[in-house]
Symmetry: C3
Subunit: 430 residues, 3 copies
C-alpha cells in the first residue's frame, strides 16, 4: 500500500471511532498483535500485518455499509463493554475513550447531578462494597471516590498508605489484588508507581479504577476536567470544537494535563497553547499526538502572550515531589495565573481551571487566591464535578446506569442552598 501500515491502521481506527481494544476485538485479532503492527517500522518488536488483515480493513473503510456496521455507535451494547480494556470493566487510561463514549459517560454524570446537588438520593448499589485502596495518601481523591460510591448506596472499605504490611513481607501485587477481589465488588487503586495499577487490574476480573499511578495516568481527573469544560461552555453557549485551550505551568510532569490533552484531542479543530518554564515543556509524544489530529499546538515561555484569546486557562502546580535536581530557575512567581494577568489578557467568558491543590502561600507560582470571588474561576465547580463524574464511572463499570433514573428518591434532610461562601447564582451546587 502507498501509505505505511501504521498510518493505514490509525486512520481506520479514527474513522471507525474505535479504541485499539475494540478495533482488535471487532476484526478478530489479538490486541498484542495489533500493537506490534502499529509500532514504528524500525523498532525491534514491529511486525508486518498479514495480508488478510489489510484486505479486511480496506473493505471496511471503503464500503459504507461495512463502515456503519463496524463503527462505534450508541447502539452497540453497554457502554462498559465499549470502553473495556483487556475485555474487563476497568478504567485505567483515558485512551479507552472515543469522543462518543466519553460523551455517553457524561450523560450518565448528568443523571447524577440531582444526587450530587443533594436533592435526590439513590440506593442503586446497595449491598456493594468498594475497596478504596490508596497506597499513597491523597485524601481529597479518596474521599471523592468514597463519597461517590456511598451516594449510590454502596459501602466503602478504605486503606491508606503501605499499611499493607503483607506487601512488606514479600507479597506480590498479584496476590494482594486477587485476595482483595474476593472481599469487595470494585476497587479504586492509587499507587506511587507507574504501571502498578495495571498490574493490580491484570490480577482480577472485578471493576478497577486507576486513582492515579505516579507519573502514569489519573483518568477520572481528566474526565472531570473535560466534563467541567463542557458544562461551562454549555452555560456560556460555546462549543468545544474549535476552542482555544491554554495549559500553563509544569507541563512535563503534570499527568493531569497529559491526560486532558489526549481527551481534548478527540474534539475537532482545537488550538492548544502550552505555556511552561524552559525545561518543563509537554513531552514530545503528546505534542505529536495532538498535532497528528489536525489541532494547532503552540508553545511559549511567556504567560501573558499565551493567555491571549483563551477560552480555557488550565493552570497546574509544579510536581516537586515527582522530580529533583532539575533547574527550575525559569519557574518563578511570574508564572502565577492571577487576577491582574487574567484581567489584562482574557475576556469575561474565559474559564480558569486548576486540578488542585493549589499553593496558596505567598510567592506561589500556580494560581493566585485573588480570583476567588471572580466568576471566571471554575476550580470549585471543577472539583464539585468529581462527584457526578465518579458516580457515573462506578455506575457504568457496574452496569447500573440504566437503573439510576428510577431509583431516585427525594432527600430527607434540608441541604444548604449553596455550599461555598463565594458561590453566586450560576455556579452554586444548583
Amino acid at each position: 500500500m502507498a501509505i505505511s501500515q501504521q498510518v493505514f491502521l490509525r486512520d481506520a481506527m479514527r474513522r471507525l471511532n474505535l479504541t485499539r481494544d475494540v478495533f482488535a476485538a471487532r476484526i478478530g485479532v489479538k490486541r498484542r498483535a495489533l500493537d506490534t503492527w502499529l509500532l514504528p517500522e524500525g523498532s525491534q518488536e514491529a511486525r508486518a500485518m498479514p495480508e488478510v488483515v489489510s484486505r479486511f480493513v480496506t473493505e471496511i473503510v471503503e464500503n459504507s455499509a461495512l463502515m456503519e456496521k463496524y463503527a462505534q455507535s450508541a447502539q452497540s451494547g453497554p457502554l462498559r463493554d465499549r470502553i473495556a480494556t483487556n475485555n474487563k470493566h476497568q478504567l485505567l487510561s483515558v485512551d479507552q475513550f472515543t469522543r462518543e463514549s466519553v460523551e455517553e459517560l457524561f450523560r450518565v454524570a448528568d443523571l447524577m447531578q440531582p444526587i450530587a446537588r443533594r436533592r435526590k438520593v439513590s440506593r442503586v448499589l446497595e449491598g456493594a462494597v468498594l475497596g478504596n485502596l490508596f497506597f499513597e495518601a491523597s485524601t481529597r481523591t479518596r474521599v471523592s471516590f468514597g463519597a461517590a460510591f456511598c451516594r449510590l448506596g454502596g459501602s466503602v472499605c478504605d486503606t491508606t498508605g503501605f499499611t499493607f504490611s503483607s506487601m512488606a513481607k514479600g507479597e506480590s501485587i498479584y496476590d494482594t489484588s486477587r485476595v482483595m477481589s474476593g472481599y469487595v465488588d470494585a476497587m479504586v487503586i492509587r499507587h506511587p508507581e507507574k504501571g502498578s495499577v495495571a498490574e493490580f487490574a491484570a490480577a482480577t476480573n472485578i471493576p478497577v479504577v486507576n486513582g492515579g499511578d505516579g507519573a502514569g495516568e489519573h483518568p477520572s481527573q481528566a474526565l472531570l476536567d473535560l466534563y467541567t469544560i463542557l458544562t461551562e461552555f454549555s452555560r456560556l453557549g460555546k462549543l468545544l470544537d474549535g476552542a482555544h485551550i491554554v495549559m500553563a505551568g509544569d507541563l512535563k510532569y503534570g499527568r493531569t494535563v497529559h491526560s486532558l490533552i489526549k481527551l481534548l484531542s478527540l474534539y475537532r479543530g482545537m488550538k492548544f497553547t502550552l505555556v511552561s518554564p524552559p525545561g518543563l515543556e509537554m513531552p514530545e509524544y503528546l505534542l505529536d499526538q495532538a498535532s497528528r489530529n489536525g489541532h494547532v499546538v503552540e508553545q511559549t515561555h511567556d504567560l501573558a502572550a499565551g493567555l491571549k484569546g483563551a477560552d480555557v486557562v488550565y493552570a497546574t502546580r509544579v510536581q516537586k515531589e515527582r522530580f529533583s535536581g532539575e533547574n527550575l530557575e525559569g519557574y518563578t512567581a511570574d508564572f502565577q495565573v492571577n487576577k491582574a494577568i487574567v484581567d489584562a489578557c482574557c475576556g469575561p467568558d474565559t474559564i480558569v481551571m486548576h486540578p488542585l491543590p493549589r499553593d496558596s502561600r505567598e510567592g506561589a507560582n500556580d494560581l493566585g487566591t485573588d480570583l476567588n470571588h471572580d466568576p471566571r474561576l471554575a476550580i470549585f465547580r471543577q472539583t464539585d464535578n468529581g462527584i457526578p463524574v465518579r458516580m457515573a464511572i462506578f455506575a457504568v463499570l457496574m452496569g447500573v446506569e440504566g437503573l439510576v433514573q428510577h431509583s431516585l428518591r427525594d432527600v430527607t434532610w434540608s441541604p444548604p442552598s449553596h455550599i461555598g461562601p463565594d458561590d453566586s447564582v450560576f455556579h452554586g451546587i444548583d
Copy 2:
C-alpha cells in the same frame, strides 16, 4: 443613658434570651458591629452604638408585646436557626446556646435514646455523607461521631492525621474546606490549632461541628456532660438550679471544664467549687463570666475541702501535651479523686464524672479505678451519652429532628441487655 452601653446591651440580650448572633440578626445589625459595641470602653476597637440602635433596643425591652416578639422562644422556628452562627447551621462553640435551646437539643437527644440503647434503628439520614476530618488523632471522638451518623442511616468518610498531603503542599484551609464541602453533606473537624475549625467553617455553608480545636472549644463534649448531669439529676429527683458543682484538676488548660462552666452558668444559683493545684487555676475571664451571672464561685487547692457537699464532682486529666516547662510541683497523686476521698467527703447521691481518658496507671492524679463498681461513678453513662447527644446535633443541624420519631423501626438483631460488665440496673444502657 445612665448605664454603660455594654451593660445595656448585655441586659437586653439576657432578657430576650438571645445569643449575640441571633440578637444581631433580629435587630438588623452586623455581628461584628455588635461585638465592637460590647467591648470595654477603653479598648481600641470599641465603638459607640448608633443612636437608632439604642432607641430600638429600648423600645423592645420596655414594651411587652415587642419583648414577646423579639425574645427567643420555642415557637420561633427550627432549632438550627436559633443556634446558628454567622447564619450557618454549624456548631462551633457552646456560646451559641441559651438555656432554652440547649434543653431543646436535649429533648432531641432523648428521642435518640431508643436507638442509642439498640432497641430501634432509624434511616432518616440515608444517602447523607459525613466527612469526619481528624487532623489530630482522637479515636474515641472520631468513632463516637461516626457511629452517631451511621445510626441515623448516613455514611461516613474518615480521615486521620495530616494525611491531607495537599495541606503540606501549601493548600489553604479555605481550599480544603471548600473542596470537601463539594463531596460531603456535613463535616466534623478536629484540629490541633485553636481557631482553625472556625476557619474551616467560614469557607463553607454545609453543617460543620467543631470536634475540638486545640485549646479552643469542644462543644459536643460539654453538651454531653451537661446532658449527663441533667439525666442523673432526673434519676435522683434533683434540680440543676442551685446545685453544687466541683471541678477538680487542671482547670487552666482543660477546655472541657471551660465549656462546661459556661453551659452550667445558663442555670440559676449555681455554686462552683474549683479545686486545682497552684498555677493551674481556671482563667480569670471564665471566673468573671460565671460570677457575673450571680453564681457563687469558690477556689481552693485542697481537694477534700472542696468536695464537701458536692452534687457533682468533675475530675479532669492534666493536659500534659498542651503545655510545658511550667511548675507542676503541687499536682501530685493527692489530687486523685478516689473511693477513699469520695466516701469521706461526699454523699450517696454525688455523681463523679470525667471527660476521659483517665490515667489508670499507679500514681495517676486524676481519677482512681477503685470507684469502678461504685454507682456514683458516672463516667461510662457519660461517655455512652455521647451517642444520643451527637445524633441530636446532626439531626438538628440537618433539619431532620422532626422525622426521627416516625422513622424508628425495631432492631433486627438481639442486643445484649447491658453493655458494661459492672453495669447495674440503674445505669445500664437501658
Copy 3:
C-alpha cells in the same frame, strides 16, 4: 474413683460433646472451679472436686436419658449460647467449638454463599455498627471483617494502629473497651499482645471477635481454613474423618496451624504429618492434645517424605516478626512447596493451602507461584471463604442467622462471572 478426676472429667466432657464453659454451666459450677479440678494433681492451684460433683457427673454419663439431656445437641438453643465464653457472645478461641457447633456455624456460612458470590444482598444487620479495631496493621483481615459486616447491611468504624492516643496517655484496656462498647454493636479486635483481646472482651458484654492477638489465637482464620477443607473435600467426594493433613513450615510460631490442628482434632482418625525445620517444631502441648484424641501424629524435617499421600498440604510463612536470634539454618528454600515437589509427591486430589500472605520473591521458602494455574492450589478459594465464614460469625453472635434466608434480595448490579483471572470452572466465585 479408679481413674484421676482429670481423666474422669475430660472423658465426661468429651462424651457429652461440651466445652468447659458449657459443661460448667450445665452442671451448675463455676468455670474457674472446673479449671482448678482439671489441673494436674501436683500443681499448686489444683483442687479436688467436691463429692457431689463426682456423683452428679457419674449419674449423667451412666444414664442414657441423662446423657441425652445434658449432651450438646442441635436442639439445645441458639448456637451463640452454645459457643459462648464466660456466658458472653464472643469468639476468642477455637476451643469454644465442638465438632457439632463448628459444623452448625458452617451451615450458616453456606447460607451466606449467595451473598459472598454477589448474587444476593442482605440488609439483616441494617443499623448495626461494627468497631473494627486493629491495634496492629493487617489490611486484608480488617477489610475481610469490614466487608463481611457491610454485606449483612451494617456499618463499620475502623481504626488502625495505636491511633488510640488515649492508650498512650495511660488509659486501661478496660476503659477503652467499655467506652467503645457504648458506641458500637460489635467489636473485632486485633492486638499484638497475647491475651489482650480477652482483656478487651472481659470489659464488655457486646459481641467481640478475636482478630488475632499476637502469638495467641486467630480463630476466624482457623475456621475459614477448616471450612475450606470441608468444602474442597465435598467437591472431591472425600470425608474429613481419616484424612491425612500435612502442615509444613514454621510450626512453632505459626498460630494458624496451632488453631487449625485443634479444630481438625475434633474429627476422627486423622493423620497429621508435621514438617518443619529443626527448631521450629509444633509445641509439645499441641502434639499431646492431638495424640490424646487418638490421632496419628508424625514429625519430620524432610518435606518430600512428609508430603507423600497428603490429602491437604498446609504451608506456612516463617513469622520472622515474632521471633529473633534463633537459628534458622535449616530453613532454606528447600522447604518451599512448589509445583515440582507437589507433582512428585502428591496426587491429583491433593489440596494446597496457605494462610497468606505468601512470600512471592525469589528464594522464598513457603509456597511457590508456579502453582498459580494448578487447580490443586486452593489459596484463593481459601481467602474467598473468609467472607461467608466471617458473615456467619457475625450473624451467629448477633443472633440473626435465622433471618438471613428470608432477607435475601437479588443483586442490582452486574457482577463478573468470576473474580480471579486464573479461576477455572470449579473454583470461581460460583
